[in-house]
Amino acid sequence: MTLTPQVPALVVLVPLLAGVVIGLVRHAGLAWLLASLASVTTFALTLALAARVQAEGVVIYAMGGWAAPTGIELRVDALNALVLALVAGMAAVIVPTSRASVAREVPADRHDQFYALVLLCVAGMLGVTATGDAFNLYVLIEISSLTAYALVALGRSRDRRALTASFQYLIMGSIGASFLLVGLGYLFLATGTLNMADMAVRLADLHGSTTVRTGVAFVIVGLSLKMALFPVHQWMADAYTYAPTSVTALMASTATKVGVYITIRFVYTIFGHELSFVIMPTDAFLLAFACLAIVVGSLQAIRQHDVRRLLAYSSVAQIGYLVLGLALGSALGLSGTLVHLLNHALVKGALFLAVGAVVYRQGGATMHELTGIARRMPLTAAAIAVGGLGLIGVPLTGGFVSKWYLVAGALEAGLWPVAVVVLVGSLLAVAYVLRLLQVVYFGEPGTVAPEPAGEAPASFWAPALLLLLGSVALGVSGQLTGGLIAAAAGALAGGAP
């Protein structure tokens, strides 16, 4: 008996079971060890799955042996194989290296529950990404959200505002999920099926139905809430600011990416090009808010004093880029979104880890606490610098490639003002990144905050630099991004993935 055909199921099962088991161990060190093992194993499994998708094309796994649409299927194509590997990869980097910061920020008697929640959250995100069933998607979204609410609230031992942030997140997340549920209900009512591929086929004949149109609208609005697309982004800024450091690093690099993936899946695969862009003005709606997100998010980032908050608002803007690309409705735009998806996950994860190192050493991460840290924490500072340049999208980082695609996509669509917004957005990024780097490198410590005692443990800067290496590889190698274009084209082909 071989487990090879079972890999798609195992990708979700391993973190899930590990999460449940960890919830029972009552030992901080053991919990961490199990969580690390599970996340690394999961990453290996996603890589195996990606290799299989590369070799065989779409991998379909019928849960319970019931062929879809009677049962639930997992359906993995190039697009979600990539996102699966991204989510599992970020977890495999962040979970094993999180021990020091978790020990500092979470009460010791809660580490088992903490790691259990983290793994269940990862399992939820992986499940969301792998599934081919619309309702299953909803259930899994709720798992990843519910765990995330609790994880954000755990930041309260450092700052009580974590609680209000978590509550706000819960309310917005639940409203978003409910809108999604309603939208799915409308689509289910019109098609009689919950399977994505089947739904896509049946929707093709139902473009005139107001039910379908309303369903589409509510799915899009619900997902926008979940992705924290402007103007419903405030919850994310607060949650990222006050959550425990490693939670922020993990969520910032995965949660929103999964949201964007789902949106691509719905807009392109399930609704199809005509329903999304010709019949419904999805593109206009998303483009408008994406542009606003880019500009407003960046402007708000410039005004921040707390660096975590600065990065959180920068994420608001980056979601704008991601949505903008997918709303362009073209291969170029989608390629931009995909490259940005990867790059931003790597860069934001690294930046939050580096900022976590500062929090670890300095007790906080305001501009005061970052002043002049480059002298004593050169590696952390280097991570902040490279990460910052990646956020701007300077050439030779992945951010430049995605920016290039987005601008080209906007120009191709004849939307030069959108191209200008993309470029102005990166200009605003220059403003907040340079301000940060000036403080880090040229600031005079001692006057406003004590100089750090020394470099943070390697478990902070090493993973950060590793992730940044990935971002640079993405920015330098045309091969990596060239493969992505093929994936994007595959997703664009419409119909079944």
């Binding site: 709720e142 519910l146 609680l163 209000t164 639940s174 409203i175 409910s178 309603v182 209900g185």
Partner: protein
């Protein structure tokens, strides 16, 4: 007006669900009390349940638990006027040869009774799928509520209040104190 009439007749459940969602959404946004927000969220979510269950309804249908032919017949016979021995014969026949044989064994009935019996024997099932989905949704909803209330309790412990505007004021004061 005909739209309204048709709607009231055909779509009433849906419109009720829309009103419940509106009431809930209003409460979530407008209320400052955090517990009240959670309650609003609960209303908002249960509204959706009505929508799903209503779409599973089939006119004249029964609950989606498979009835054997004998069970159907037994129920049917209890609702019509029929001589006990003919009923027994029919019940015996259904075990052997199925409903058609039983119907034959029953012999002629009064027209109203025959129609009623036929209707009961052919009763369709309600769609089970929406029920399953809503079972899940109910569980999700109560789980969310549990976590939400846990957070509210912690907020009370940390801030001494569960009114969102008072929390904002408290934060502003903390910030001011930190600055001075």
């Amino acid at each position: 007006m005909s739209l309204l009439a048709t709607g009231l007749f055909n779509l009433l459940n849906y419109w009720v669900y829309v009103s419940l969602m509106m009431i809930g959404l209003y409460a979530v946004i407008a209320k400052t009390n955090l517990v009240k927000k959670v309650i609003g969220l609960s209303l908002f979510q249960t509204g959706i349940f009505i929508f799903y269950i209503s779409m599973g309804v089939v006119s004249g249908a029964t609950t989606p638990i498979t009835w054997t032919d004998a069970e159907r017949l037994r129920l049917g016979l209890s609702r019509v006027e029929v001589a006990p021995e003919r009923a027994a014969a029919a019940l015996a026949a259904v075990e052997e040869d199925g409903l058609d044989a039983a119907r034959a064994a029953l012999g002629p009935l009064a027209p109203a009774d025959a129609a009623r019996l036929d209707e009961l024997l052919a009763r369709p099932y309600t769609n089970p799928l929406p029920h399953v989905l809503i079972l899940t949704a109910i569980v999700v909803s109560v789980s969310t509520m549990a976590v939400a209330l846990a957070i509210v309790m912690e907020i009370k412990a940390a801030y001494g209040t569960i009114e969102s505007d008072e929390i904002v004021t408290a934060e502003l004061e903390t910030a001011r104190a930190a600055r001075s």
